[in-house]
Symmetry: C2
């Protein structure tokens, strides 16, 4: 009794569910088919192959970002909000995040955030090559932050995080790491993200000012 007909959308949704529930390694065509109560090969009527399915997952997760843009706000605030919206991925789809940042997307889902960012930066007075550079810098920072948050890039908890300072770091070889091990062992992701974001925005404001001065 298939309540709904199979479709690309349903397949992608099932994949996302499965990833969030059991991790990216659990995803297989056979597993997803089982989840949907159909034969494996039925999937291939709606999706060319596994790779395309995973692209679909990435696109869908990306398209679920809720952008709230206030055109009246100053550009700095708008940039902040866009960056934060992006970061929501790590919260709403933590185990799919790696997939989102590790797949080259060419769909509208991937283009929309860039479109918004470029528009905002234009308002800030950046055009052409400068605007593109700014977007790329922000994307790099955000992507790197998401990876840390999602637990793939180390937070630099040395050895095992649990046993603070009882960790096996040689204080002679790594004096700094070992003296800061307590701080390295904890990470307030939100605070870290905001810190870097503010620094970046301040830097961009200064950059705009410098350019203004030499024009």
């Amino acid at each position: 009794m298939p309540s709904e007909p199979l479709s690309r959308g349903r397949i992608v949704a099932a994949a996302i569910d499965l990833i969030e529930r059991e991790g990216a390694d659990a995803v297989s065509m056979r597993r997803i088919a089982a989840e949907l109560g159909v034969g494996v090969m039925s999937l291939y009527n709606h999706v060319p192959n596994k790779d395309a399915l995973l692209n679909g997952v990435a696109e869908t997760v990306l398209s679920r970002i809720e952008f709230t843009d206030d055109p009246g706000a100053p550009w700095t605030e708008r940039v902040r909000e866009q960056a934060r919206a992006f970061r929501q991925i790590a919260h709403h789809h933590p185990r799919s995040t790696m997939l989102v940042v590790s797949r080259q997307l060419h769909s509208a889902a991937g283009l929309l955030p860039v479109e918004r960012a470029l528009a905002t930066l234009r308002e800030a007075g950046f055009e052409g090559a400068d605007a593109v550079r700014m977007v790329r810098m922000f994307v790099a920072y955000i992507v790197g932050s998401l990876l840390r948050e999602v637990g793939v890039t180390p937070t630099f908890a040395p050895a095992q995080t649990r046993t603070i300072n009882a960790d096996g770091v040689d204080p002679v070889l790594f004096p700094e790491v070992s003296s800061l091990s307590e701080l390295l062992g904890e990470c307030d992701h939100e605070a870290e993200f905001e810190f870097g974001l503010e620094l970046l925005i301040t830097a961009i404001e200064a950059y705009a000012g410098r350019r203004e001065g030499t024009r």
Copy 2:
């Protein structure tokens, strides 16, 4: 005629070779064993499982970074050099880069770069939580940049890069992207990296100055 005895090092090296030659998807225990001219199960005498092997790959690639630290140089220059050294991963081991940034490492190989960064930042006057924050921001930026460079995060070449401006981006839906498509389609990775790096360093200098002022 096994010229050399099997060892964890030889296995990891073979894996790196294979990844760089045929991509990360080509890596399998069976394939690596074949590459080394041994039975699959022989690998398990030196490596507990595939996951551990891939961690070994990440650690080894990371440990191959050539840091050249000039203690006499100003801290800004030392930070620059460390960031650039890290970026070399993308050039020396492009197809292993994803593995390096996507695995939580707890070995000395992963700690050394952090140790150096913390020492340099201490010299710049940052200690404790500030130093940790700075390192994390730099790592986020560098990791994100590497992913772009290595071709996983989009450079934002809309549709297919090759046909510049003949790409299928709707100029009504995406006016900014479509008007900047030419710039978005090309990416001088070195220049982009340096641009963000300078901005970051400038921002940190300003941050240090601000803090100094209010002390």
